[in-house]
Symmetry: C2
Subunit: 208 residues, 2 copies
DNA sequence: GTCTATAACGAGATAGAC
DNA sequence: GTCTATCTCGTTATAGAC
């Protein structure tokens, strides 16, 4: 493996190095407790290293936060690409998309960017931009699926594909948000199924 | 006005006294920044009083938080009662319900309990219970409206009314959550309209 | 009911040795 | 890369005067 690849993986926190482990722990803590609900001390203790070492890898909490979103978004993009490679129709792609959210919830976590959306007003500017970009990316991918589904006849919706994509992202994030206090994944599934059904073409259109 | 009423109003923060003003400021700060995103110092400075005075009215942040949810839930219940008095069908009641959320969002705020749901894992136990109770109350009211709508033929949905209520609460909370970073209320409205339409009976049923 | 003062703790961050 | 030690500041909370 060339040095460039190694450096790139390290920067992205995809290898098994310390930076990667820091991101793993911090990511879980943010998804569970929020960006304002964890500290460098929490991460350091869990990894058995000092707070000072954290600052070597990530200058400050803001930079750590940026790296968290970047890696999370990158992984999500990877999952979306993988779904695109499957020989399935658009409706099934939508179901696979919803399952990504369900997988996060089954690990007792909130979507990283959904959590950060709640804390949006307290975030440093670079993190804010990254959160919005995450949602933009999600919706751009969904627009492609929705257009495909409308063409092939598996999906049906009124308004623009962009609007429909916003409805889907909001619906899934909200289902995660409200489900977590109840600790019952079935609750999420009901909302997700309803949402998907409201875009399916195999039932008569209902959204005027 | 009798002493009992006065004491009760004071306890609930519905009069214009100091406790009420503290709740007003704290409520806005939590809805904007989250429970872990504001401090006693923030509230004290805005009101021009000392932090120590805050502790006279609310022993600690946890007690302030409980009082916040209690008052918020109580006001919300009042709004639901008011909707119930209107001579309108269930579908219109559902639209009025969604408008309550839209009103919050137009003030740039997140639903108090939606915000607290994100921070759920970091909340003191009494606050957690109060948050869950809030959602339970919302859904109980919605169940009544949904049953009415199904009987009178203005609403249509598959599954139990309870499940439908969960879908509605999650959908509205999620639309608020994702809309706020964009600062565009129209985004919320699109999601809310879609949600309402998916339960309306004037279009053919689509949720299997 | 409100104040000043301060305690007690935790947060993010830095210096400099190893 | 990682450490110990330290700094500075913010946060919650309390004591006690007025």
């Amino acid at each position: 493996m060339g040095k460039d690849v190694r450096v790139a993986r390290q920067a992205r926190g995809t290898d098994g190095g310390t930076a990667s482990k820091i991101l793993d722990v911090a990511e879980r803590l943010v998804q569970l407790r929020g960006f304002n609900g964890f500290s460098y001390a929490d991460v350091a203790e869990e990894l058995g290293i000092s707070k000072a070492s954290l600052h070597y890898h990530f200058a400050g909490k803001a930079e750590l936060g940026e790296a968290l979103i970047e890696r999370y978004a990158s992984r999500f993009t990877g999952s979306l690409d993988e779904i695109e490679t499957r020989p399935i129709d658009a409706r099934a792609k939508l179901a696979a998309y919803a399952k990504l959210y369900g997988d996060v919830l089954r690990r007792k976590r909130m979507c990283l960017c959904g959590m950060l959306a709640a804390e949006y007003q307290t975030l440093p500017k670079p993190m804010r931009s990254a959160v919005v970009s995450f949602f933009d990316d999600q919706e751009a991918w969904l627009v492609g699926v929705l257009d495909q589904g409308r063409e092939e006849g598996t999906l049906r919706f009124s308004g623009s594909a962009s609007e429909a994509a916003q409805v889907i992202v909001g619906g899934l994030e909200g289902a995660m948000l409200v489900t977590r206090p109840y600790g019952d994944p079935a609750r999420f599934q009901i909302a997700a199924d309803h949402l998907l059904a409201s875009f399916a073409a195999d039932a008569p259109a209902r959204v005027s």
